[in-house]
Symmetry: C2
Subunit: 237 residues, 2 copies
C-alpha cells in the first residue's frame, strides 16, 4: 500500500497574530491544507491519505475538509504528536492499528503548508521509495551556503555544489521507519528531529528526489503573500 | 573613503531567451541595475559608486544610466573581469589608479541583480566593515540543509542553526583585500570564487550582517516575476 501523510500538527506560532494554525489560513479561495490534500487526492497511486492535526483542531479540520469536499473515503484524520517525528509516527501507528503493515508499504510524508507540490514530485517520491526505501525531496542550494557556529563570524564556506535545501515529501518504508524510530534513545529522539536524519545516522542511504523552487513552505506572512502571487500565476514559468 | 561597487559583470546566461544581461531587464518602470544604483546613491555615507559592467555593454550602460539620471558625479563606470573576483579587483585597481588606497578605505560590493537592498543593510555593512574589515551579508537558512557529495544520496544533514544563506553586500578593507588577492596562486583563485572565502581561508575573520529574505538575487525568469511581485508590494510585511 502507498500512504500519504499530510503533516498539519504544527501550531504555527511564527505567523504572527492569526487565530488559526497556518495550515488553515486561506490561500486563494480555500485553506492551504485543502490545496495540499487535493494534490494527493489527484494521484491515483496513493491508496490512503492520513491528515494529522493537533487534537484541539480535530473537529475544525473535519468541518473544513467536509466543507471543501476533500474528506473522502481515502482520507483519514489522525491526531498529531508533540514533535514532528511523533506526529509522523502517530500516522504509522494508526496504519498499523487499522490495516497492519507489510514490508512493501510506504508512506509519503508531506508538510501541509507546502501546497504547491506537483504530481511529478509525488510520483518521483513513490518510484524512488519503492526502489530504495528512503527518499528526501531537495533543490540545489540557490545561495552560497555559509557556516557560522558562533553566530558572529564565518567559520566555513562549504562547496556549494554539495549542498541542497530540504523540502518535502520525505518518503519511507513504513516498517523500517518504525523499527528505526522505536530503537532510538530519548536523547537521540531529541537530536534527530528530521526523519531522514534517522536513516542517515543509522547508516541507511536516503535517496534524493528533485523538488521545485516554488514548492515553498508557508511559515510566515511573507510566505503567504508569496504563495498568493504563485497561485495567481505570476511566478510559474 | 567609503566605496560601493555594483557588480554587473555577468552575462546572465541563466535568464533564457533575453537579448540583454539580466541587470538590464526592466523591473517595474526601470532596469534592475538602476534600482540598485539608486539604493547606493540614497546613502550619503557612500563617497563613490563604481558600476562594473562587461566591456561590450559599456556604452549601453552609460546610455541607460544617463536616461534614468543615475550617472551622477559620484558614479563611475568600470570594465569587469573574467570572473567575479577579477571584476571586484578591477574596481579596486580603478580606485588605486584614480585616487590611491589607504588602510581606512572600504568597499561595499553588491550584486547588481539584488535591487531590494535596504539602507539598513548598507549601513550595517559600513559599520561592521569599519570595525572588523570584512563583512558578509546572510540570512539564517530557511530550509533544512542537506549535504550530498554524490548527487544521489544524503551524505549529511548538518545542524541547521549553524547555517546561513549568503547574500550581498560583501564589504572589505580595500588594502587588505588587494593584498590577500594578489598573494593567491592561480589554483587558489580557481577555488576561492567567493571573496569572503579568501579572507576565511587565510585566517581573517569575516563578520556577519543580517540581510533580508526579500533581498533576492534575480538570476532566472522565476526570480524576475517574484521581484515584480515584491515591487508591487505584495510581499513586504
Amino acid at each position: 500500500m502507498i500512504y500519504a501523510e499530510i503533516l498539519a500538527g504544527g501550531s504555527g506560532t511564527r505567523m504572527g497574530n492569526t487565530d488559526r494554525p497556518k495550515q488553515f489560513l486561506m490561500l486563494g479561495n480555500k485553506p492551504i491544507l485543502v490545496h495540499t490534500i487535493e494534490a494527493f487526492l489527484l494521484n491515483p497511486r496513493i491508496d490512503r491519505i492520513l491528515v494529522v492535526v493537533p487534537n484541539v483542531w480535530l473537529d475544525y479540520s473535519k468541518d473544513i475538509m467536509n466543507k471543501y469536499n476533500v474528506y473522502t473515503d481515502r482520507v483519514h484524520l489522525v491526531v498529531g504528536g508533540s514533535t514532528r517525528n511523533e506526529t509522523i509516527m502517530n500516522g504509522c501507528r494508526y496504519i498499523e492499528s487499522q490495516w497492519g503493515i507489510t514490508d512493501e508499504d510506504i508512506i509519503v510524508t508531506h508538510d501541509s503548508v507546502r501546497p504547491f507540490i506537483t504530481q511529478r514530485i509525488i510520483n518521483d517520491n513513490i518510484d524512488a521509495c519503492l526502489k530504495y526505501g528512503a527518499v528526501d525531496t531537495v533543490i540545489p542550494a540557490v545561495d552560497t551556503i555559509v557556516e557560522s557556529t558562533n553566530n558572529e563570524t564565518i567559520t566555513n564556506i562549504p562547496v556549494r555544489k554539495y549542498y541542497y535545501q530540504g523540502q518535502t515529501p520525505q518518503s519511507f518504508g513504513i516498517a523500517q521507519l518504525t523499527s528505526l524510530y522505536n530503537a532510538l534513545t530519548e536523547e537521540e529522539k531529541d537530536i534527530l528531529t528530521d526523519a531522514c536524519k534517522i536513516f542517515t545516522m543509522k547508516g541507511h542511504p536516503v535517496h534524493l528526489v528533485m523538488g521545485e523552487g516554488y514548492n515553498i513552505k508557508i511559515t510566515a506572512m511573507y510566505d503567504l503573500k508569496l504563495a498568493n502571487a504563485i497561485l495567481e500565476g505570476h511566478l510559474h514559468d
